[in-house]
Subunit: 247 residues, 2 copies
């Protein structure tokens, strides 16, 4: 692997854009549209498919059809939830190159801290992909497809779902003339505490943890009266789950 | 208000301990047990009741019985969800002194960044409590009981419930041999994005936002097979709410 190693990233979304930025200058990297395949180079050493989960299989077939027989390119996808087997047509050259982060195109990121999870259908493929990931990040791990699926599921809870709760909090605060920013110190302390403890369940606080049904009833009344019905349902379900854990 | 101003904090929990630390040295502050009332000084200028929500009314009655008639002490509680009216027996000297933070006794905190929400049954009472809060914090706001209840409700979503989701994420990660720490960069980026945007809903990502039912079904299968039933219910309820918002 050196500056002459050529990497083609197929896709145009947030993940493709950031992988391009993270690897640019370290290898000969090009971003190729998954629609037109304009400028696609069938001799690229590594082809990284970074498209929506449901589009991976189709793009893989398209690439397979454009590669010469017995070609030696490594082909990897960047999905947390799709198994490596979706690329089985590339045999021992198939792999996964999954960066665990929430990406937006505009935002600069410190790539060295982003964990990359690598899988390969052969040791050599895994090694090549790991080496590429290590050129961008200090945190590179091999992980099989079953574990990666769980990792992705966990990330849905701690990233996507947490963001939705921030959204609900923000809706409620707006109604009393406040911004989520006021909660910045509280949110940051919550995150620090959770990360510093063996299990966040051990540092759970709040009315559900205390079993304070007066406060919970008051909260649920407000939610039912003034907010979408699912907000009250989320409140009740998470409170019940917190109470169960506390038993 | 000066160093001779005497403040008695009634209680022994996390909030009482931290308010004592935040004000100590600035005023003559003493922590008084809400059980024994050992060392209680009926001539204190300000009495802060920092006990569990359900115990406030009882402690207030006890204090009232120990104060001379026509005494001029200010009496405030520190609850997010209880209204000021619970202290109506102190007439225009009743107030609220609510710090918005999650406290644990062991942990040091930067008090200057913690927002304090103040209410008083008279302008003078509100002014005195605000001045005391400003001695500890740069962020002091007057807020009435209805708004404070909503503020507290919002904090349950963004602090208590978010911590529970971190706990669920941590449970799932442990089963693939990983720690929540790996998710540190992802969690911090999620928080920064949410705080930097007018509404966190605008930066929502993930399978529910994309309507990716294949991935969601796979996730729910894992949850139903291997985790407490409420985990799957939380997944389904929040996903539905995210989908509704995206419409």
């Amino acid at each position: 692997m050196n500056k002459q190693t050529s990497i083609q990233i197929i896709g145009g979304g947030n993940v493709a854009t950031h992988i391009h930025r993270a690897l640019d200058g370290k290898y000969s990297v090009a971003l190729v549209s998954s629609r037109s395949f304009d400028g696609f180079d069938p001799s690229a050493d590594v082809i990284i498919i970074s498209v929506k989960d449901d589009a991976i299989a189709g793009v893989a077939r398209k690439i397979k059809s454009m590669l010469p027989k017995n070609s030696a390119n490594i082909v990897a996808h960047t999905s947390g939830s799709k198994p490596i087997s979706i690329l089985d047509c590339f045999e021992d050259k198939a792999g996964v190159f999954y960066p665990l982060q929430t990406f937006s195109k505009e935002k600069e990121l410190e790539y060295s801290k982003i964990p990359f999870f690598i899988e390969g259908n052969s040791e050599e493929t895994a090694n090549v992909l790991s080496e590429i990931a290590r050129s961008a990040s200090e945190s590179v791990h091999e992980m099989d497809s079953d574990q990666r699926l769980k990792l992705h599921l966990a990330s849905v809870f701690v990233c996507n779902f947490v963001n939705h709760l921030f959204g609900i909090g923000s809706d409620i605060l707006r109604d009393c003339g406040m911004k989520l920013e006021y909660m910045g110190p509280l949110i940051k302390e919550t995150v620090e505490k959770a990360l510093a403890n063996p299990s966040p369940h051990d540092v759970q606080t709040g009315p559900a943890r205390r079993g304070d049904s007066n406060v919970m009833d008051t909260h649920i009344d407000i939610l039912k009266r003034e907010y979408p019905p699912l907000y009250a349902k989320i409140y009740e379900t998470i409170s019940q789950s917190i109470a169960d854990k506390a038993k």
